[in-house]
């Protein structure tokens, strides 16, 4: 699911690129938010709450709410709703609060 038409914004699609999410290869458009590519691939669970480990999905979409923190190319706590997709990115579900490496 992607927004194709919008009354005031334009969504110029980048080229189709591959990226890896939790070990599997997916396709997305270069430059779109990582979360958009995941969402389009049917991946709705982006994070988990710290205390009860409940699933957290796409929520604020503007980098504020911390619901979508993932490990991207080894870096923890990346907000995938605002981080742009690049070719061959390695996106991983973050366990706990993330490990600084």
């Amino acid at each position: 699911m992607r927004i194709e038409e919008h009354p005031i914004l334009s969504f110029d699609k980048g080229r189709r690129v591959d990226f890896i999410f939790d070990g599997k290869t997916y396709e997305g458009y270069e430059g779109e938010p990582i979360a958009a590519a995941l969402h389009a691939a049917g991946i709705m669970v982006l994070g988990h709450s710290h205390n009860k480990q409940r699933p957290r999905g796409f929520y604020c979409a503007i980098g504020n709410c911390s619901s979508c923190l993932m490990v991207v190319n080894g870096q923890p706590n990346v907000r995938v709703c605002t981080e742009k997709l690049q070719e061959n990115m390695i996106v991983e579900t973050q366990v706990g609060k993330g490990d600084l490496r």
């Binding site: 710290h50 923890p76 706590n77 706990g96 609060k97």
Partner: protein, 382 residues
């Protein structure tokens, strides 16, 4: 409101709450704590929350040791239904100058003589304790595993709850506007919510304590210095001890929640009572942190805040009574370490007010020491 009290304590931080609790524990009735805002709204709630035994003067070492040994059992002693979150991950204090290194060797000898289990370490040994530090920036380090940190909000609440159970009254959002003195004796406290008759006033007002002293014409030689702290997003635990450097002006700790807090002050700032945040701090703090603990460079800063160190000339607390005004006591001048001294402050102040022999020799920490010119300076302050 009560219009009479046996003791009025000004300040609802850890010191005021601890003094109130200890007085009530000794059977004193009608103790009132007056707090301008909410409990911990001053320096207690703004502090870095670290506690350490690694000091450079005998009295600071003993005060800190006494307090930390209390914090170890505070949940039980205060019968707190929560948890003050006391974690003893140690303090790693690094030396980056020869002068500091020499001082640290003296400090360790002093600390060990007082039963404090601190050790002197090479840069390589220090790196084993905090693997992500850049050990090339340091000459040596000292480490004490008994040091640590705890939650200042919950620790203060634990004292306040215990004090309330013993009959202490708290007046929050109440401002002291004056102290009445007749024939050289305290007779009452004027607040914006009325007058309270009392023969004893305790000045535990932290950064505002000089102003309170001024109300009875007692000149307390302290000034408020703004210190700032930032907190980062949380990550899984990687740093157990507090990391600290006096010469590089940094302390940095990972909290149980996973966030890192780090802070410093700037001694050249105007000595006013501001607690606003500055961008200089953010830039300088981040730069020092990234040089010494480079792994933290990718952490995002969540927020920053400021609080006041109440600086005394020798960087040791001022405890005891004012000779000029009967019934006026003070517990101030902690120079940034009032939270960690909270437990001992309550004990020795309650003893002093009741005319008992203090558990520690705080007669050397009276206001009169500044007139005698025989000060022992604490060298280890950040």
């Amino acid at each position: 409101m009560n219009n009479t009290a046996s003791v009025v304590i000004i300040g609802g931080g850890i010191s005021g709450c601890s003094i109130a609790y200890n007085l009530a524990l000794k059977g004193v009735k009608d103790v009132i704590v007056i707090e301008k805002e909410y409990l911990t709204s001053g320096s207690t709630g703004r502090c870095g929350a670290g506690v350490r035994m690694q000091w450079g003067t005998e009295l600071n070492c003993r005060l800190a040791k006494y307090s930390i040994e209390f914090y170890e059992k505070a949940n039980e002693v205060l019968q707190y239904d929560g948890d003050i979150e006391f974690k003893q991950g140690g303090y790693l204090i690094v030396a980056s100058t020869e002068k500091e290194d020499t001082q640290f060797k003296k400090n360790i000898a002093l600390q060990n003589s007082l039963g404090i289990p601190s050790v002197y370490l090479s840069p390589k040994e220090a790196k084993e304790i905090i693997p992500h530090m850049d050990e090339t920036k340091i000459i040596s380090a000292t480490f004490c595993p008994k040091d640590g940190h705890l939650n200042p909000f919950l620790a203060t609440q634990a004292y306040a709850d215990a004090a309330v159970r013993l009959g202490v009254k708290f007046m929050k959002y109440t401002t002291v506007t004056g102290i009445k003195v007749e024939n050289g004796k305290v007779t009452g406290v004027q607040t914006n919510k009325g007058f309270i008759s009392t023969p004893v006033v305790v000045n535990a007002a932290g950064g505002q304590s000089k102003l309170i002293g001024g109300m009875v014409d007692v000149d307390i030689p302290v000034y408020a210095e703004r210190h700032q702290i930032l907190v980062t997003e949380p990550v899984n635990p990687i740093q157990n001890p507090m990391f600290m450097s006096f010469s590089l002006n940094i302390y940095c700790q990972q909290t149980p929640h996973g966030s890192f807090i780090m802070g410093r002050g700037d001694a050249n700032e105007p000595r006013d009572l501001r607690v606003t945040s500055s961008w200089h701090f953010l830039e300088e703090m981040a730069q020092s942190c990234c040089e010494l603990l480079p792994l933290l460079k990718d952490l995002r800063v969540v927020r920053q805040w400021a609080g006041l160190y109440c600086m005394s000339p020798d960087r040791q607390p001022i405890y005891g009574k004012a000779d000029q005004v009967e019934g006026f006591y003070m517990a101030t001048g902690y120079s940034g370490h009032g939270f960690m001294f909270g437990p001992v402050t309550g004990v020795v102040m309650a003893e002093t007010i009741l005319g008992e022999k203090p558990s520690l020799p705080i007669d050397k920490l009276g206001l009169d020491r500044f007139e005698k010119d025989e000060l022992l300076f604490e060298p280890s302050v950040v």
